[in-house]
């Protein structure tokens, strides 16, 4: 049986059938409106589910810009299409590893999010790149050092280590364009990192 509002109310046996209200509700046009209201309610009841899934579990995100070239948007000079990536959001701020590609709120622009690669974990000593004022820096607790793969990137060398609380998700797959569909092999990058003791 198809659910309607009628399921949530007892039959209005207590209402006099001749009342103005009953006649109004009995009008076929008004009943059609009630049917539309029911479908609108069913549609709206799924919106919070989408919001919760996008906040806590997964989201498909569009990648703008070339800061992760050539991992994302490698055809940036030949094509206007932008890469879409699958972002896993459950427990994203924990179990971070060097080489992971993460999406986080920009420290300079609280309404914008950026994608970068985790290079240093708390306690690591990082050899910084030019814009940063000092040559080496130790990542403080609760922070990570992030850098973009490309040349045109504004990363931790500009704004310093970022708090893990800013991280909203880990990029796990490229989903668009289809010919590059596949898992982001972040652990291969981690092997290439240069360590010195």
């Amino acid at each position: 049986m198809r659910p309607t509002w009628a399921h949530f109310a007892k039959k209005p046996s207590f209402l006099p059938t001749k009342s103005k209200w009953f006649q109004f509700r009995s009008n076929p046009r008004v009943r059609g409106l009630g049917q539309f209201g029911w479908y609108a309610f069913v549609f709206a009841s799924w919106l919070p589910v989408v919001v919760m899934a996008n906040d806590n579990f997964f989201e498909i995100t569009r990648i703008n810009g070339s800061s992760m070239y050539p991992l994302f948007n490698p055809d940036k000079d030949r094509s206007l299409t932008l890469d879409r990536v699958w972002t896993w959001k459950y427990n994203a701020q924990n179990k971070l590893a060097r080489g992971m590609v993460v999406i986080f709120w920009s420290p300079f622009n609280p309404e914008g999010s950026v994608v970068k690669r985790v290079v240093g974990l708390p306690g690591d000593v990082i050899r910084t790149k030019p814009p940063y004022p000092v040559a080496t820096v130790q990542v403080p607790p609760g922070h990570v050092w992030v850098e973009g793969d490309g040349d045109a990137t504004q990363d931790s060398n500009t704004y310093g280590p970022i708090a893990t609380g800013l991280i909203v998700g880990k990029v796990t797959h490229i989903v668009w364009p289809p010919h590059r569909f596949g898992r982001v092999k972040w652990e291969e990058y981690a092997k290439k990192l240069k360590y010195s003791s």
Binding site: K10, V49, P110
Partner: protein
């Protein structure tokens, strides 16, 4: 038939789906509209008690939206993940703030960088705040405290009192 219970009785899948929808609605309300929290610790002492105060947060101010100097905000503590704190904003991007407590060894000042704010607890000697971990990215702000109170008495309308902006003009000098 026609009663709402008959829609659920004997339909475990319907019960499951509607429980999930209700959970998602709660997630939406507590993360995007309003939420309730329990503050503890001595760092905001004249304003909030050490323990027992219930705070109501307006989540429309998440990520520093429309936050002003003097507001109490809840934020993700950058140096200790999985923990939230409540402090007062004393500087927004571009403002000059004292890096240390007034009367401390150094009177150095700092301009709050863009996208950041400067947080300090009301109980200066007993607070861990921006004086320790530096300017806080606005994106770490979760909401603004708009009311505080305790569940004392029988009238729920008397439990909470609004929390006005704490910025006052200094006429002493």
């Amino acid at each position: 038939m026609g009663h709402w219970a008959s829609y659920f009785a004997g339909h475990p899948f319907r019960v499951f789906v509607h429980c999930g929808q209700t959970l998602a609605l709660a997630h939406y309300i507590f993360n995007y509209q309003y939420s309730v929290g329990w503050g503890y610790g001595p760092s905001m002492l004249p304003t909030f008690l050490v323990d027992g105060d219930i705070l109501i947060f307006d989540k429309h101010h998440r990520r520093g939206r429309d936050v002003q100097v003097g507001d109490c905000v809840s934020y993700h503590i950058p140096v200790s993940p999985d923990e939230d704190g409540v402090k007062r904003v004393i500087g927004m991007p571009g403002d000059y703030v004292l890096m240390n407590s007034p009367g401390a060894t150094s009177d150095r000042m700092l301009q709050v960088p863009k996208g950041h704010c400067y947080l300090v607890g009301d109980n200066l000697p007993w607070s861990r705040d921006s004086r320790d971990f530096g300017p806080l990215p606005l994106a770490l702000i979760k909401g603004k405290a708009i009311a505080k109170g305790q569940m004392v008495g029988w009238n729920p309308w008397k439990w909470f009192e609004p929390l006005p902006n704490g910025l006052t003009s200094d006429d002493s000098s």
